[in-house]
């Protein structure tokens, strides 16, 4: 490590501090972004593309270290990360000291390149820049002419300071901090798969058909999918016949770059919780749509989001919290997450939106996929991304039952949306207890 690298280090951003705390032997907060090209991947060229690209993204070429009060990231000059053949069970837990201390993994399978990122480094939008740039460099090595635009960064340029900034701190300016605690939500129960299994069910949908359906209901696509997931959870809770019903809530990350201009490649998201409460009465699907639509319009704006990030920033900047040693912080944060935060949502849903590429690059790309990774508790997570007319919905869960996924996709079929299903599950005939 040269002298400059020894003096360079990065504080973890506001949300990045939580993820290493939740690290367990069988859980790491890792997500996966994939891009499917039109030709089979050549691993040697992909490795060269990674080696050429990564220095341009210094916050991804790092190792996680423990300080006395906080963790931090320091530049990592060890060899790697090395591209490897893809595996059946993605988003495996990551030991911070393995993989030459890199916190990203790159896989290839047939025509697909997959990038797995530990959430402390960046959110999905930040990592998409890395994936698109690696792919563009790879395509250039194949002899194609790909311009540096629409999410592809120039690997010969120096990274701008704004790309490395903790944008939360800049925008946390609210004078009011709303309370964090919310009532407990319904949690999907199921039979845990053996360690380590991640079940994926992917639905591939034509965007135009999905948009047409959402427009019929007068809602956006994200609102529509949120409503369908809430509907699936409501049906699942009714199937469970619980002793006491609970509200159904979805934890949905919102990309703050839409509201607070920033070029940061690090985490810059906030959580919102669209919800319904079946204890108040029976909801029709239209009722759920109305509820989600108004919730989104009311809460997703710069004022509420600013208040939310200010609450988080205030906690982190509190001098009494700052002087507490890291191991005590870990204990408290982990318990808070297990007892409060994790119980606030029934499922996770993220929509990375439409990925636009330059015309030159688009002709080599078939589709994108995003996978939220292993859920902290036994439940299912849903991640959506679209490119041109292909939208993919990936459910990831570590339980055997597929009730939520089944109700979700059947509802889409009922609404006239054609779906193609792919999976990595090894199913036995009629393993579901309700069909």
């Amino acid at each position: 490590m040269n002298k400059k690298d020894r003096t360079t280090w990065y504080k973890l951003d506001l949300s990045a501090n939580v993820y290493p705390t939740l690290q367990r032997k069988n859980f790491s907060n890792i997500y996966r972004l994939s891009i499917a090209l039109k030709e089979n991947i050549q691993p040697e060229l992909l490795q060269r593309a990674v080696d050429l690209t990564l220095p341009r993204f210094p916050t991804f070429k790092v190792a996680l270290r423990r300080g006395f009060f906080w963790r931090y990231l320091e530049p990592n000059d060890r060899p790697g990360p090395f591209v490897q053949p893809d595996i059946e069970n993605p988003c495996m837990p990551l030991n911070f000291r393995s993989n030459n201390r890199y916190l990203i993994r790159i896989y290839y399978y047939q025509k697909r390149i997959s990038l797995e990122v530990f959430h402390s480094l960046s959110d999905g939008n930040g990592s998409l820049y890395l994936l698109r740039t690696i792919t563009a460099v790879y395509l250039r090595l194949l002899g194609h002419d790909i311009p540096n635009e629409m999410g592809v960064l120039d690997i010969d340029a120096a990274p701008s300071p704004e790309e490395l900034e903790d944008a939360y701190v800049r925008y946390a300016t609210s004078k009011f901090c709303p309370p964090r605690k919310q009532p407990k939500a319904y949690r999907v129960r199921g039979t845990l798969e053996p360690f380590y299994t991640l079940n994926i069910i992917c639905g591939v949908i034509p965007v135009d058909k999905a948009l047409q359906t959402a427009r019929q209901y007068n809602v956006s696509l994200t609102e529509y999918f949120n409503a369908v997931l809430l509907y699936a959870l409501m049906e699942k809770q009714a199937m469970d016949h619980p002793f006491r019903e609970r509200p159904l809530k979805i934890a949905m990350p919102v990309n703050l770059r839409r509201f607070f201009p920033s070029d940061t490649l690090r985490n810059f998201i906030s959580m919102v919780y669209p919800s319904i409460d079946p204890r108040m009465g029976t909801y029709t699907f239209e009722d759920i749509l109305t509820q989600v639509h108004h919730y989104m319009r009311y809460y997703i704006n710069d004022k509420f989001l600013n208040a939310d990030i200010t609450t988080n920033a205030a906690t982190q900047q509190n001098p009494f919290i700052r002087i507490v040693p890291l191991f005590l912080k870990d204990l408290v944060v982990k318990q808070f997450y297990i007892r409060v935060q994790d119980r606030q949502s029934s499922a996770g849903l993220t929509n990375l939106g439409v990925i636009r590429l330059s015309e030159e690059m688009q002709k080599h790309v078939e589709r994108f996929d995003v996978l939220m990774g292993q859920p902290f508790s036994a439940r299912t997570n849903c991640a959506i991304i679209s490119n041109q007319n292909t939208l993919t919905i990936n459910f990831a869960s570590s339980i055997k039952e597929t009730d939520v996924e089944r109700i979700f996709f059947r509802k889409l079929v009922q609404d006239g949306i054609p779906i193609k299903i792919e999976t990595n599950r090894r199913m036995e005939e009629t393993t579901c207890h309700t069909v």
Binding site: D86, E88, Y109, R189, I201, F409, I421, E429, T430
Partner: protein
């Protein structure tokens, strides 16, 4: 292309069973494609653990230093007792107990537990040698250590089995107590009084047997088990 008759979704051509509802695909016009690559690889990834022996080296140095320093002090200082043997013994005991942590891949838990039992027996022998009493070691300590180790190994052997339920594990735990405590009292009675007269261990035995009978009954009654799981889930 094949569609699931239950769900109405199109299935990947390599899909034999609908992943949503478990219904098998029967399409005479387009049989399942076993030749094309599946959408996901079939090779399972293995979590790599770091090859760092820093903790092993650090702990070995700390324990070794304590043992050597105490041994030297005991040798140098004018004293009639061999007190350093206790410290050295405890250091060795801790090191052996930590072996599965030091070498997680090389020391299986089963062997680690057996080694722990053996080291406790040796440590006990060392103490009995330093304090030659009235034969407490062969008559009480050694049989308890042997039976305790067997029970722990037995419990571990059952609990690692995937199909052993929470009820089975609990029943086994109470079953182990039902064996251990009467044995302890029998050994103590034989050593101190020369005759067996069970008192307190009988109470424990009765409680453990009652709990085990209830648990075994529940485990055989599928309906009751399901009802309990439903009512008591948390």
């Amino acid at each position: 292309m094949s569609y699931c008759v239950n769900c109405g979704v199109e299935l990947d051509k390599t899909c034999e069973i609908c992943p949503l509802c478990g219904t098998a695909v029967y399409n005479p016009n387009q049989p399942v494609d076993f030749k094309s690559p599946k959408p996901y690889p079939e090779k399972k990834g293995i979590i790599d653990s770091p090859t760092s022996y820093e903790f092993t080296i650090l702990m070995s140095i700390i324990l070794g230093t304590i043992a050597i320093v105490c041994g030297l002090l005991n040798h140098v200082l004018p004293t009639n007792t061999r007190w350093s043997f206790y410290v050295i013994g405890i250091c060795i005991l801790i090191w052996i107990f930590l072996l599965p942590v030091f070498f997680p891949k090389k020391v299986p838990i089963f062997a680690g537990l057996l080694l722990n039992g053996g080291s406790i027996a040796i440590f006990g022998y060392m103490i009995s040698d330093l304090h030659p009493g009235k034969g407490w070691y062969p008559e009480i300590a050694l049989p308890i250590i042997v039976i305790g180790t067997i029970l722990v190994l037995n419990f571990y052997g059952f609990t690692i089995h995937k199909k052993s339920s929470f009820i089975t594990k609990t029943a086994l735990l109470f079953g182990s107590f039902a064996i251990l405590f009467p044995v302890v009292e029998i050994l103590m009675d034989l050593h101190f009084q020369g005759a067996i007269f069970l008192t307190w261990s009988l109470v424990i035995l009765a409680c453990c047997i009652s709990i085990d009978i209830v648990l075994i009954t529940i485990s055989f009654l599928t309906g009751v088990r399901g009802e309990l799981r439903k009512r008591l889930h948390f």
